[in-house]
């Protein structure tokens, strides 16, 4: 029971990270139908920005988080303008390979500049643990930070998407791009905002992971990026609550599988769940099923 509580806490933390990255995947997919494979690498760069700020400039946790988010937002917009805009009207598969090329460029470009070795993140948060309900299960202060930051960011996102003009145009574009343009929505601006918000969330996830696991490297974005994408698909890609649901679901399952002795197979389980979900619900848990009209 205590172990279960402990794993629950760990699962929620890991799930928060996945959910934060998955949100960016899902938002970009919703708007331009592109699997943005470079998204996991933005998360990696977010972690490096956090690392540089905290170890060299001795900035605190929250300022580092916010600066990293801003810089990642800029990077996301830049990537879209430079790399994705030229292929916006070409084939899906060409756009996908473009995204992969951007991903490789970021990974190996970073590797060239910061070298391949793993870096150790400084301890930013107090190393304090709280016992849960007087059992031996503990709640690390870092878990609280992660969960707190994630939930706050999600609330801000929720507000942005449903209460602001930018959010409204994002929703409109994702429902019907052509109609939205006819109604006077600025396509380029909306796409830029989407990339900015998605990338900022990935940057936040990068800093959180850096502080939580203390180590970062240029290829750290590959696996979590893929997993977050899986989470987005499980939830129903293009559907924002789906990304959150998928992220927590995946984080929780993975933690539980590891806890019960399957750590070697935890990635396989993630993909197996993905396939099972898709077979049962081909558009993900919360995805809409749109049939082609004959």
């Amino acid at each position: 029971m205590e172990q279960l509580t402990q794993q629950f806490v760990n699962g929620v933390s890991l799930g928060s990270i996945y959910a934060l990255i998955a949100l960016g995947y899902t938002m970009v997919y919703g708007i331009i139908k592109l699997i943005n494979f470079a998204h996991g690498d933005i998360y990696m760069i977010g972690a490096y920005i956090g690392f540089a700020l905290t170890s060299f400039l001795h900035v605190g946790f929250f300022p580092a988080l916010i600066i990293s988010m801003l810089l990642c937002a800029l990077l996301g917009v830049l990537i879209e303008k430079v790399a994705y805009k030229p292929v916006r009207n070409s084939t899906r598969i060409a756009a996908l390979i473009t995204a992969i090329s951007v991903s490789l460029f970021l990974e190996y470009g970073m590797m060239y500049f910061v070298k391949a070795e793993t870096r150790t993140f400084p301890e930013l948060l107090p190393n304090k643990q709280i016992s849960i309900l007087n059992t031996s299960a503990v709640l690390d202060i870092k878990n609280i930070y992660i969960i707190f930051v994630t939930i706050s960011l999600m609330l801000v996102l929720q507000y942005t998407i449903y209460k602001t003009k930018v959010g409204k145009s994002m929703r409109a574009v994702s429902l019907d791009r052509d109609a939205a343009q006819l109604m006077g929505i600025d396509m380029n601006k909306t796409i830029s905002y989407t990339f900015a918000i998605g990338s900022a969330l990935a940057g936040a996830a990068g800093v959180l992971v850096g502080t939580y696991y203390n180590s970062i490297n240029p290829l750290m974005g590959v696996v979590p990026g893929l997993k977050a994408f899986v989470a987005a698909v499980i939830g129903g890609i293009g559907v924002i609550p789906g990304a959150v649901l998928g992220g927590f679901f995946l984080g929780m399952t993975e933690t539980m599988v590891s806890a019960f002795g399957g750590s070697l197979y935890k990635d396989a389980v993630a993909f197996a769940i993905l396939i099972l979900v898709l077979l049962a619900k081909p558009n993900g848990l919360l995805g809409r099923n749109i049939k082609e009209k004959v």
Partner: protein
Amino acid sequence: MKLFNKKNTLSMLAVLGVYAIAGLLINTGFIDSYIFLNIVLIGINIILAVSLNLITGFTGQFSLGHAAFMSIGAYAAGILTAKLDQPFWVGIAGAALFAAFAGIVIGIPTLRLKGDYLAIATLGFAEIVKIIGLNTEYIGGATGLNDIPRYTTWTWLYFCVAATVLLISNFIKSYKGRACIAIGEDEIAAEAMGVNTTYYKVLAFTLGAFFAGIAGALYANYFYFLKPDSFGFMKSIDILVIVVFGGMGSIKGSIIGAILLSVISLFLQGIPELRMVVYSLILFLIMVYRPQGIMGKSSLKFFRKRGVLYANHQGK
């Protein structure tokens, strides 16, 4: 429609001529072992690209897991030739059949999915295959499978490549191949004209896997050594890049693409630190300036313009 018309006879002569001349150059040492290694890689890439083209280019089924079939073939051939002391032809046949069987097993459930969802499901299956490989003691787990005999010679390589190209071209020009192309073009119309779409998708997937298995066998019995990591997501992407670069739905394109990209990566080995950075830039430039590929003309439905109008058709 005759077997021995002028064109067929000529191309058969050309095929045998290339074989004889290159064989002579290898035997006399004009082609050294380093060049030959790259020729082996090119041959393997041609088989992989042509077989993936059948699945993705012609039949329009977006697969991101082709390397998994190669790995299943490679391990099957490795086990058959290294552990069970079987001759190479048994290794190749076993590799092809195991991979084809995996194609059926993976294809039947996943090919109900469309587009990006199919892509991510095949990617998932490929990762599962890799993870199972990493955790199976019998085949060496993460350390890999060693001491596979080197059976891949110029003759084996050349005739496997030629057979793959010939058989897949034949298939494409038969009514079964037409059915596959029709599915790639318009699934609903194909179905209305009597094409059992599930059957033909699985058939294309299985045939593609069969030939990828052969590529795996050639790989295993040339490099002595196999590791599950070599057949990950990036390998699948590399194959897809060849297909797109060559041109979707063009067998000639896949052959030319495999040769060109192999040569490019050969040159990039001269700058190990920046190799991947330059490679990514080349990929990017190709996609921006020649997204339809070298030989590409067609714009199959799935690969046409993205956008919301298209997205509404995703769930068909």
